[in-house]
Amino acid sequence: MKCCRGRLFTRWRRVFLFAVTVHAAWFRQWEGKPGRFFRERQVCFGERTGWRAVFGAGMLHEWRREGNTMIKLVDVEKTYYSKAGDIEALKKTNIEVREGEIFGIIGLSGAGKSTLIRCINMLEVPTGGKVFVDGEELTSMNEAQLRKARQNIGMIFQHFNLLASRTVYDNVAFPLEIQGMPREQISRRVAELLDMVQLKERADYYPSQLSGGQKQRVGIARALASNPKVLLSDEATSALDPQTTKSILQLLRDINKRLNLTIVMITHQMEVVKEICDRVAVIENGLIIEEGSVYKVFTEPQKETTKEFVKTVNDIKIPPIIDTASMKQAYFPGSRLLVNLTFLDSGDAEEGKEKSAGADQPLVSAIIKKFGVDVNILSGKVDYLKDMPYGTLLVELIGDEKSIAESVRYAKDAGVKVEVIGYVG
């Protein structure tokens, strides 16, 4: 009996320990991002929060993908009619932005991205299609309804567009004045907002006395004054230096997390997309040519334009000692194969993509041992896509034709993204 109880106890203890381990492992992925944790839960399980929601953990992957839609564009078109000829700035565009995500729209100038973002708050009235924001159809509203709806959509601009004749305080108070908020309430809210963007001491300054970054902070505070659910960012960092850009992006990210604010940003800088966006759409000639999670678009760009954009932040630099002029695509005796390996984070892979090999596998040493090739590392770096780390290694594989081919296949099977550059002598 005693022994039996002991065994039973051991068994239960095992079950318990197993449960703890599973939970601990699952929780680990949320480490350091409690805000996101709760947000995701709310998105996934509607009104169910806390532990009740945790029991739905298994469905997390499925459900997160379907988070509430905040912005929806259905067949939106914009054509500028003129005697010289009609210009189709935007061709049938369909976009869905989920609540709480940062959605990037990237394109070269003239691609139609400005028109697209202006269609979302109807600063440009589309010539066709429907626009929904927060469940309401903006395209069917009259002027007064539209003005009301716009208070739910903040916007920031490349050139800040602050009122030069008003102080920082009065600029932030402006949207509240428009809504007819009482004076005392305005002053409380403005103080709150200025605190958030760390410009409390500058309340009485005029915009011309501020730096670019400070002006954009005022712009952000102003855009958030009426507690909007959506923030549209029209090239908000394009006029800023890299340092300031980083700090503004950081601020936007904080706000996104803290307020569960949905952000749509258009940009021509891949750096910006890489830094803060969850998903991205690439626009060209008024048409969305590619769309998906930043991770996917980044690591597997399909279209030429997308590849160009990715290259701007992710260019492989082959050291000058390598004679690339004599590079061949086929093996020749004594040649070495130049490959670029991308190690993706093995954490949550989005959009149904299978988990890829992470840095947790000793790939390089495995290749060396298994196939007897030599691996010469030419360059390498670890970078981040939003919070997700990924590493790239530029290596030379030295060995005979067969073992090199097998090594490449092995690496691919392990889930590492292998980009074969060519054989060099």
Partner: protein, 220 residues
Amino acid sequence: MSDNMLELLLKSLGETCYMVLIAIVLATLIGLPLGVILTVTRKDHIMPNALIHDVLGAIVNATRSTPFIILMVAIIPFTRMIVGSSIGTTAAIVPLTITAAPFIARVIESSLLEVDRGVIEAAQSMGASPFQIIRKVMLPESLHSIVLGITLALIALIGASAMAGALGGGGLGDLAIRYGYQRFQMDVMIATVIVLIVMVQGVQSIGNALSRKLNKNKLS
């Protein structure tokens, strides 16, 4: 120059100030809304309306192209209707106002057009109504430029008021013509011109200073 003359000069100065100041106030009251309407009804502005814009534009142009001396005589019946008399300083205010109003409308239009489209767009994106945009964005943002425009109009009016003598309106210009020119009193002529120069200088300086104070674009 006798005391008598000095007295005459002061009286004329008073008349000029009276005519010009009242005319500029009335002209601004008429010209401001006109200028605003001319601006916002433009094709790509906040309340596009080609009909209103074109009709108002035509009226403004017609008034502006009529020489003041002719306008003054042409509207005598209208002046009499309003003031009750077509002769005198007060009567001169009517044609002065009518000639200055379209001028001010155009000056204000060009000031309002200087307001950055982006700032107006920002206000629209916050849900501001056209009236709020005019009152809270366009006018405050261009106020420093409008002040300069009105200064310009004021100086033009001082010039035009010299012709008010034709309606027995008096004023410095009238004095210079009647005494300085027609009676060959060179000293009166010179004194009048000096007073006018000082006046114009003063108006311009005050206008510049006020505009500079209102302009928050170039602070350091």
